[in-house]
């Protein structure tokens, strides 16, 4: 499994975390390339549907980053994000998806270094968990008439 390259989708709030991720770039912090960001204005915009969709359609991990609680550009948009987080994680576990495949991290605009570390740690975690391959495995766990006849 050592050559497994996880595919991670990151939803970053524009004001803190996307800016922090940009700062990681400006400061030339190196992190691994397995993560592709999607910019939203606030982590509160991140709909849990997107997270499930990402897992179903091939993501091995989903990272959501927002401003630290109290620092939200929109006052408390991230409070809504953190309110959804624990229950979504618990539900993922019920579906057999390791909750660590979905992480919520606070990254401020000043924390480029932290963003790089968060990303690398996330990649390590997901790499250790192995590929999710949801669609393939779902297809494999779905019986059809042909299976029944054979």
């Amino acid at each position: 499994m050592s050559d497994f390259e996880p595919r991670i989708v990151a939803f970053l709030c524009s004001w803190c975390s996307y800016t922090g991720a940009d700062l990681a770039g400006t400061s030339r912090k190196k992190y691994r390339s397995n993560i592709i960001p999607i910019r939203v204005m606030c982590s509160g915009r991140v709909d849990p549907e997107w997270i499930l969709k990402a897992f179903r359609d091939g993501a091995d991990g989903v990272l959501v980053c927002g401003c630290h609680p109290g620092d939200c550009h929109y006052i408390n948009g991230n409070h809504k994000t953190l309110g959804r987080y624990p229950v979504v994680r618990r539900m993922l576990a019920q579906f057999g998806i390791h909750p660590d495949r979905y992480r919520l991290e606070w990254v401020s605009a000043a924390e480029g270094d932290r963003y790089a570390k968060v990303v690398d740690a996330m990649i390590d975690t997901v790499r250790a968990l192995g590929p999710l391959r949801w669609k393939d495995r779902l297809a494999a766990a779905t019986d059809t008439l042909a299976d029944a006849r054979s």
Partner: protein
């Protein structure tokens, strides 16, 4: 499928040396909908932009993707490029392959692969883009300045000098801030009061400036161009319209022993008081907690002696609130000096004659507790006539450059320590001055020269971080004194240096209530709690919140010249907006799809701006575009997808997600 053009930038070698751009261009040209793909050395340059404009015209492009730097950098640039070629700027999407690809990825092949995924995501997303119109709102020609320190005063004066209305709000009874407490200023050693007092008076008497002292901003609503600000005026119990500032009441008040906030408790004030002689406004207030009339129901002496009949015990103790409307806001709320009480090894609060830098400032000040004489305490009390110290320790970096406290440098301590060294040498003949430093940081104009001057003034500079200030004497000469234990890193030995007074140059921290104010203003703080500027180099006094500017120490520790410069810079930005008369607002607001909304009202309490309300007749939610700031939190929460956000529609984000997951 709309006709899409993709433009990939090399950014000199910034992208091109890591990401194999031609490969990305080739990949992009094979994506569905892409009818044209091209590269350029510098896409943001005039020729680069011209290339895009031409391609839009020649290929009839209906959507544009530019893969280059961060959208936070050049989204506006390329939107404009599109507009110039007749394409709505929102039919454009930016793929960030610099900050989040080439600069952060070591391996070139991986970087190229990631760049392709990012481009693919943008191409998928842009298909679903719809034209949007940037709106404009008029700007109310008035500015709110929060904080009446030197930065705020400067900002207020500059804005007002154009004939624009300024509301200057100060929570203390007087404007002046920390600088009003200073004796001398480094490196010129000019008298702080002599240069500040005229500015304070000028601000107070300026016809376009309303000074709201003893007041706080409690609520800010609205948005850039027209903020509605609620200013809470604390009760003064003195009618400042009638008060002539004669001072008779101050003399007669029988409550004499109230520790003065202005002098950090080292002097006393009365229950009716002005904080210091040059205070502006120079009108007293009554401290209800300590006033005999309020506490014991007798006295009313101040009322008797007031010829102007200005004393008003019947003022509402809750104070009163007024609302003003302004077009923009300058935050100059300053800092506070760290109290080193939890650094017990340094003896602050435990041993006598250990002071913070700002307390020592008052000790040097002619109107301070010792009338400007640098003397030890007498019977535990700071007062004139005490014994002069034979040796003083100036200890740098208390809480600054210290992982246990603040990682940052407080920027002013080296210089004010040098100033103190000079003042001690000047005021206390024969007194030894030990200056314990880690590094001397004398970066400003004339600062290094000042340091050189002090090197010749017989100050003992010891390079080392002080381990302990103790009263445990061990050797002769230590009895009854304090001993500074330090590793002298230049000598390479641990030293015990007996002194009689210790000045802890403690860190500058975000002001009390800085966080709450940030929340009131909906602006961000960096991890150390100072307000976050929009760009550390190129937008140092703007913030992420349109129409809100920062100046002075609330943005980070700085000295007087820098604070004044920022105050003036913020004023220039505020004025530019007011002179133009209008500002643009992003159209990426939330909106309700009427047919899908059931009026479940889950969204309504989620909006911090109260932009959503329920249309009772139609039993549906309605988003007021002028109030919506476009966070999309309500959209994320809407359980039926009836709320959507322009520019961040579910379909657009999901297309972007599909683009990412389709890659490889």
């Amino acid at each position: 499928m709309p006709r899409i053009g993709v433009f990939v930038c090399h950014c000199g070698s910034n992208i091109g040396s890591v990401v194999h751009v031609p490969e990305v261009v080739q990949f992009a040209s094979g994506l569905p909908g892409v009818v044209h793909a091209a590269e350029h050395k510098y896409m943001c340059s005039d020729p680069g932009q011209e290339m895009i404009r031409q391609a839009i015209r020649e290929h009839g492009l209906e959507r544009v993707v530019v893969a280059s730097c961060s959208p936070l950098m050049h989204e506006a640039t390329f939107r404009k490029t599109c507009e110039e070629a007749g394409l709505n700027g929102f039919l454009f999407q930016m793929a960030n392959i610099r900050e989040q690809v080439s600069w952060v990825t070591e391996d070139k092949a991986r970087a190229t692969k990631k760049a392709m995924a990012v481009v693919q995501a943008a191409v998928h997303r842009v298909v679903g883009h719809v034209p949007l119109q940037v709106g404009t709102v008029p700007v109310t020609p008035a500015t709110l300045v929060i904080g009446g320190g030197v930065a705020g005063i400067e900002a207020a004066l500059q804005v007002a000098s154009s004939g624009t209305r300024v509301h200057l709000v100060e929570r203390e009874p007087s404007i002046g801030g920390h600088m009003a407490r200073f004796d001398k200023t480094f490196p010129t050693l000019d008298c702080a009061a002599c240069i500040l007092t005229p500015k304070m008076v000028q601000a107070n008497t300026h016809p376009m400036i309303t000074v709201h002292a003893w007041s706080e901003v409690v609520e800010v609503s609205g948005f850039v161009g027209s903020f509605k600000v609620r200013i809470h005026h604390k009760a003064t119990y003195v009618d400042h319209q009638k008060c002539t500032g004669c001072g008779a009441c101050l003399q007669k008040c029988p409550q004499r022993k109230i520790p003065s906030e202005f002098d950090y408790g080292m002097m006393n004030r009365r229950a009716i008081y002005i904080p210091f002689a040059q205070a502006v406004p120079n009108k007293p207030i009554i401290d209800r907690e300590h006033c005999q009339w309020f506490q014991a129901g007798k006295c009313r002496i101040c009322e008797k002696v007031c010829e102007a009949k200005a004393i008003d015990y019947d003022q509402d103790p809750a104070g009163w609130t007024e609302e003003v409307e302004v077009g923009n806001i300058i935050v100059a709320s300053g800092m506070k000096v760290m109290q080193p009480t939890d650094m017990k090894h340094l003896g602050y609060g435990r041993l006598p004659d250990v002071y913070t830098g700002i307390e020592f400032e008052r000790l040097c000040h002619a109107s301070g507790p010792t009338e400007g004489h640098i003397v030890c305490k007498t019977g535990g009390v700071v007062k004139a006539g005490g014994r002069p110290p034979k040796a003083i320790a100036l200890v740098h970096c208390i809480g600054s450059r210290d992982q246990q406290h603040h990682a940052y440098c407080s920027r002013v301590c080296c210089m004010y320590a040098l100033k103190y060294a000079h003042l001690v040498k000047e005021h206390v003949p024969g007194c030894e001055v030990y200056d314990f430093y880690i590094d001397m940081r004398c970066f400003g104009k004339g600062y290094e020269e000042f340091y050189n001057r002090l090197l010749r003034e017989d100050v003992r500079f010891v390079r080392g971080k002080v381990a302990e200030v103790t009263d445990a004497a061990l050797y002769p000469g230590e009895d009854g004194r304090m001993v500074v234990r330090v590793e002298d890193t230049l000598v390479g030995a641990v030293r015990r240096i007996p002194v009689d007074m210790v000045v802890l140059c403690s860190a500058l921290e975000p002001a009390e209530g800085a966080k709450a104010l940030a929340q009131t203003l909906h602006m961000g703080c960096s991890s150390d709690g100072f307000y976050l500027e929009r760009h550390p180099k190129l937008a140092p006094v703007s913030t992420a919140s349109a129409g809100i500017f920062v100046a002075g120490c609330c943005q980070g520790p700085k000295d007087i010249p820098d604070s004044v410069a920022q105050g003036a810079a913020a004023a220039a930005q505020a004025l530019a907006m007011i002179m133009k008369g209008q500002v643009e607002v992003e159209p990426t607001t939330a909106h309700v799809i009427d047919d899908l909304c059931s009026g479940c009202q889950i969204c309504i309490p989620l909006c911090p701006y109260e932009a959503i309300h329920r249309d009772e007749a139609r039993r549906k939610a309605y988003v007021e575009p002028a109030l919506c700031k476009g966070c999309g939190t309500c959209v994320g929460a809407c359980p039926s997808g009836a709320l959507q956000q322009w520019g961040f529609d579910d379909t657009q984000i999901l297309a972007e997600l599909e683009g990412i997951l389709a890659a490889r």
